[in-house]
């Protein structure tokens, strides 16, 4: 038989409660800076509840600036007016991280550049080789500039060097997406747009939304206490030794595995056909057992550049909604940008065949429990 090595993948399953003192849901959401899409799946719902709609990123707009040189973003005036005066999210688009240069400014005020070898050798800024590269065969470097550091101001050596590198050495221009949350409520996103509108093409973009309803669909039955059957099976063996085989059969029937639910959620999001028979020629996939029939369910998706504050907001709204309604559970999925140089925090992100960084919350009404499933790529560090 011919066998080939297949790429690896990393998936993290977590089971916890929102009220648990060590719960990491806040850090997971707020550390994931560049969110491309948010998706809510609500079973037993006819339409999107108002509470969720209000907290949604729908009204949050962002700017797209075309062909903006990096020197403009590291300019002292820009830094003091925007980077230091709020949470600024800047991400380059249109350039692929595995082949091109990518730039981003994190809300913490760090400029992260992921550049290829040729650019790095001409740029003149100190950086680190990418941690996913083989030693002595490095083709990718990441350069970090702290824009909010005290040494980063006019007249200081560090600032002048960075300005000189971006202006005179290499004319690095990208198409950027910018989102800004000012600390001062009197300021607004418009200031950001008007800052460059005379020189560069600035577009104000709305979040795109997409919604669909499903009728008479079967959804998996989930027990929040049973995360994975693998664990579950070992428990089963233990209980079998104790002679209580009847009990474990019951648990086996009672709920679906997190991995199964994760796959099923994907199938719903992609609007896949979940009715395959086991002997079908085309498709053998079907909803995992045990399942229950639901008359109607809603899936809603917003796409664009979404800030992590918005998502935290939404998560809270969804939590309170799930608690007071008759939904068995609800799911919130957040997709990161494939070509973002960071995934969680300032952890480096790479492409390696798929470059995913996404996470899903499955929220249960009971005891404020939730499952957190994080799907990350081969070239990514576990958060």
């Amino acid at each position: 038989m011919v066998e080939f090595l297949s790429p690896k993948s990393k998936t993290i399953f977590e089971s916890s409660a929102f009220i648990h003192k060590n719960s990491r849901h806040t850090s997971c959401v707020s550390d994931h800076y560049f969110n491309h899409a948010v998706e809510v799946f609500l079973p037993c719902c006819d339409s999107l509840p108002d509470a969720v709609q209000v907290s949604s990123p729908q009204r949050q707009e962002y700017y797209a600036v075309k062909r903006l040189p990096l020197a403009e973003l590291t300019n002292a005036e820009f830094v003091s007016r925007f980077v230091k005066a709020g949470r600024l999210y800047v991400l380059s688009i249109g350039q692929h991280i595995d082949t091109h240069n990518v730039a981003a400014i994190l809300p913490t005020g760090r400029l992260i550049l992921s550049v290829n070898k040729d650019t790095y050798q001409e740029l003149g800024l100190e950086g680190k080789p990418s941690q996913f590269e083989k030693p002595r065969k490095v083709t990718k470097y990441s350069v970090e500039v702290n824009l909010v550091a005290e040494s980063f101001c006019k007249g200081k050596k560090n600032y002048e060097r960075v300005q000189w590198c971006f202006k005179d050495r290499l004319d690095l221009t990208f198409d950027f997406l910018l989102a800004w949350q000012p600390n001062d409520p009197s300021q607004s996103l418009d200031d950001l747009g008007s800052f460059w509108s005379s020189k560069y093409e600035c577009l104000r973009v709305e979040q795109r939304q997409h919604s669909f309803q499903m009728r008479n669909q079967s959804i998996p039955v989930i027990d929040s206490s049973l995360l994975l059957h693998r664990q579950h099976k070992s428990n089963q063996d233990a209980s079998r030794m104790n002679g209580s085989s009847q009990g474990c059969e019951e648990t086996q029937v009672r709920s679906c595995d997190a991995a199964e639910v994760y796959e099923w959620l994907g199938a719903v999001a992609c609007q896949c056909d979940c009715s395959g028979a086991s002997d079908s020629f085309v498709n053998t996939y079907r909803c995992p057992e045990p399942s229950q029939q639901v008359s109607s369910s809603v899936c809603h998706r917003w796409t664009g550049l979404i800030t992590s504050e918005r998502i935290l907001h939404m998560l809270d709204a969804l939590r309170s909604k799930v608690e007071c309604s008759r939904m068995p559970w609800a799911a919130l999925t957040v997709h990161g940008f494939t070509d973002s140089p960071v995934s969680w925090g300032s952890r480096e992100h790479g492409f390696s065949k798929y470059g995913n960084n996404l996470y899903t919350f499955v929220i249960f009404p009971k005891e404020q429990r939730y499952w957190l499933i994080m799907g990350i790529g081969d070239h990514d560090v576990c958060p």
């Binding site: 050798q121 001409e122 740029l123 003149g124 800024l125 000189w164 590198c165 050495r169």
Partner: protein, 229 residues
């Protein structure tokens, strides 16, 4: 073979002289006292006038009659100048280093002007017959002391953008004086330099130029497989 055998053999190698010969009077018989023989021989053979000098002659030492080469070495040493210092000695005497007070950019500006004139002369850029091919060879052979060089690409980001007048060139590095009157040593390995002569901008791949300035003038250059740093 034992010792005795050797003796036997050697005896058989040389036969004694035949008797006939031994008795022959014409043959010179070796006297028992050679000195006496010499004096008597001289007395008999030397011209009369020399008779007084005979005493002197016979008192002289023996001499080898072979042709002896005159000792040329001593003569040469006399003609030679004082010996030059070795590289190591030069280093110990700090001759390779330019003293701090002489590291002034202004001081070397005339050198740069001189170098420009020299390049204009040797390259003859205005001459329409000059082709790129010719230019390459000339550029390879030319002297780079006095040129203003800028590092445009390097494996190490800190070198990028360094600019100055080249004052020394060694096998593996350029030493240049920057506008801030600081001497910088920049390795040639994995660095690309740029210099300009009037309108001509030249990129120098340091990896391909790792010879001493003197060596470069008449050296056969080999093509390197890559221009990657």
């Amino acid at each position: 073979m034992s010792q005795k055998d050797v003796e036997k053999e050697s005896f058989t190698l040389y036969d004694p002289l035949p008797r006939k010969l031994k008795k022959d009077k014409t043959l010179v018989q070796v006297p028992k006292d050679p000195k006496q023989f010499v004096t008597s021989f001289l007395r008999a053979a030397a011209p009369r006038k020399r008779g007084e000098q005979l005493e002197k002659l016979s008192s002289r030492k023996e001499m080898v009659m072979d042709a002896v080469k005159p000792k040329r070495r001593t003569e040469r040493r006399r003609g030679r100048k004082k010996k030059a210092l070795s590289n190591k000695q030069k280093k110990e005497l700090n001759m390779n280093n330019i003293p701090k007070e002489l590291q002034k950019y202004e001081m070397y500006e005339p050198l740069h002007q001189l170098w420009l004139d020299y390049m204009r002369d040797s390259l003859q850029l205005k001459n329409p017959t000059v082709t790129a091919e010719n230019l390459h060879i000339k550029l390879l052979r030319c002297d780079l002391h006095g040129s203003i060089m800028t590092v445009t690409k390097s494996k190490c980001p800190s070198y990028i953008g360094q600019c100055g007048i080249v004052v020394q060139e060694s096998r593996n590095a350029f030493k240049m004086i920057t506008k801030a009157d600081v001497m910088k040593t920049i390795p040639k390995a994995s660095t690309i330099f740029t210099m300009s002569i009037d309108n001509l901008v030249v990129n120098i791949y340091g990896n391909h130029l790792r010879f001493r300035a003197g060596d470069r003038a008449n050296r056969k250059f080999k093509v390197k497989p890559t221009i990657d740093l």
